[in-house]
Amino acid sequence: MTGGWKMRLALTLAGWTIALAMFSPILWMFLTSFKTEIAAVRTPPAIFFRPTLENYAAVLQRADYVQFALNSVAVSLGSTLLAMALAIPAAYSMAFFPTRHTRDILLWMLSTKMLPAVGVLVPIYLLWRDFGLLDTRLGLILIDSLGVLPIVVWMLFSFFREVPPEILEASRMDGATQTDELIHILLPLSMPGIAATALLAIILCWNEAFWSLNLTTVNAATLTAFTASFASPEGLFWAKLSAASTLATVPILIFGWISQRQLVRGLSFGAVK
């Protein structure tokens, strides 16, 4: 099978090329964060340099990293929990009790993602202001969970659809109430899918910047706002910006690394057999 190994080699090379291409901006950011500001703007960029921690010191000195990080954790976890709590019953009902309009509702939900967020900035801002939600974690949790809700519902809907309805009917014959059905049958059966959905939601909320920048100032600002605060109009401090970005990215990168097995398993989760 000479063709076999050539194909495998080609695929391996292609895979590595794409992965490296996608990883290169992160690598560049990571390296830049250890350069001096002068070294950071040099073209071509220096591959070998004497690393310095001065950017990290400056960044940490200027802002309370821990508070931003805690906000990010609270907001991404909170939004994900809220979105899941709303989406699980919604997806359950759409997957197992579809009506003529189920498809339309799903498409409509997805279509809200095509609306640029800035289009609703003013009404949202005013609402949040009147409800006292500006610059609060709760306010950000609410808007972020609404933001990921369509995707979460869609994903859960397709995972639930993989569960044969007969299994749920069997549990109904066995005396399970709808809550029992959800807790004892549906959730355990679609756990890989639910986990993948939650992980993705956490990552999306972690990276969410628009609302964080517009609805928070100090108290509830997340790491995306922290990062953005280093992109100053007076001039580019690429090394410091890189250090801030690295600090903002590393937690979610580690999180993704740990959970990637679960994520892949969930996203490729097939029929329950």
């Binding site: 009917e169 069997a170 549990s171 109904r172 014959m173 066995d174 005396g175 059966l189 329950v272 057999k273």
Partner: protein, 369 residues
């Protein structure tokens, strides 16, 4: 222990009616089979009894009590699904005890009941396994066991054997009959396979297009099909049908002209037909013989050897098809010609609407008419 009664039951999906008024009474301890082709409504009917499907009109009484609005679990019925529908994430033990757990039965009691059922079904060794570690036959047993643990008033079985191979099907048929004898509980069994219905059921309900065609014991259906549909559905290979015309009638007898001009006579309610009436004559394979002097010339399309007997699938001179059951040592082959003799007095007559004329002659040896 339950009677199940259906009164004018209808089912509509939107404007589309798929069950057109079914009246039926299923007695306590009875093994009843719903049989019909796919789309006949048999599964829907079962699911309405189970409570998994709403009734659009009419009512279902379980032990005399209207089931409308009673959730599936509280109807006291247990269902075995075609796909088994076991809970994949639970062990056999957990699968079987799930209903008891939902009912709040204590752990010791649950274990005792599950073990008792596992003993009957000879699957005590499987209790700690997950469904994915079981073979098709074992899955089937677990599904039945899960239904038994609840000690239901009646078992509802939806094509439970259709995923098994033929040998296992034959074995499970016998086991189900034995099981029915042992637990002596009402069983309603849905199948598209008339062999399953014939071999297991006390009574068979033949459904076609959302209507009951006929209800009766297996032999009643076989010997006295009420319609062309039942005649064609029950029995394998199928009954053969010939277009005939009544040439004359006498007291209790009609004489028919076959397509090739040959006349045959058989006992039938002569007062219901008159000369010239077009009818269909149905003949089962066992009532067709190979006979050098036979009245029908046939060309053999296929020979189905089953060992002790064989079936000749033939085409007659007018193009109609006829199946003959012959001795297994036959040496005829596809393409050969032969003459067939039909024992017309064992035949079935159907009018143009497909309704059977009363069959007066039980199967008996052929006599020259």
């Amino acid at each position: 222990m339950a009677t199940v009664e259906l009164k004018g039951v209808r089912k509509r999906f939107g404007a589309h009616e798929i069950i057109h008024g079914v009246d039926l009474r299923i007695n306590d301890h009875e093994f009843v089979a719903f049989v019909g082709p796919s789309g006949s409504g048999k599964s829907t009917l079962l699911r309405m009894i189970a409570g998994l499907e709403e009734i659009s009109e009419g009512e279902i009484l379980i032990d005399g009590v209207a089931a409308q609005g009673v959730p599936p679990a509280r109807r006291g019925l247990a269902m075995v699904f075609q796909s088994y529908a076991l809970y994949p994430h639970m062990t056999v033990d957990e699968n079987m005890s799930f209903s008891l757990r939902m009912a709040g039965v204590a752990k010791e009691e649950r274990d005792r009941k599950v073990r008792a059922v596992a003993r009957i079904l000879e699957m005590e060794a499987l209790l700690d396994r997950k469904p994915r570690e079981l073979s098709g036959g074992q899955l089937q047993r677990v599904a039945i066991g899960r239904a038994m643990v609840r000690q239901p008033k009646a078992f509802l079985l939806d094509e439970p054997l259709s995923n098994l191979d033929a040998a296992l099907q034959a074995q499970m048929r016998l086991e189900l009959v034995r099981l029915h004898r042992e637990v002596n509980t009402t069983m309603i069994y849905v199948t598209h396979d008339q062999v399953e219905a014939m071999t297991m059921a006390d009574r068979i309900v033949v459904l076609n297009n959302g209507r009951v065609e006929q209800v009766g014991s297996p032999l009643e259906l076989y010997q006295h099909p009420a319609s062309l549909f039942v005649a064609g559905f029950i029995g394998a290979p199928k009954m053969s049908f010939l277009d005939v015309a009544v040439s004359s009638t006498a007291a209790g007898w009609v004489t028919l002209a076959l397509a090739n001009g040959v006349s045959v006579s058989l006992p039938a309610p002569a007062e219901e037909v008159k000369a010239g009436t077009r009818l269909k004559l149905g003949i089962r394979p066992e009532h067709v013989e190979m006979d050098g002097n036979g009245e029908l010339q046939a060309e053999i399309d296929a020979v189905e050897h089953l060992g002790p007997r064989a079936y000749l699938h033939t085409r007659l001179s007018d193009g109609s098809r006829m199946v003959a059951q012959v001795s297994g040592d036959i040496t005829l082959r596809e393409g050969d010609r032969t003459a067939l003799h039909i024992r017309a007095d064992a035949g079935h007559l159907f009018d143009e609407s497909g309704k059977a004329l009363e069959r007066r002659a039980p199967a008996r040896p052929h006599q020259a008419v």
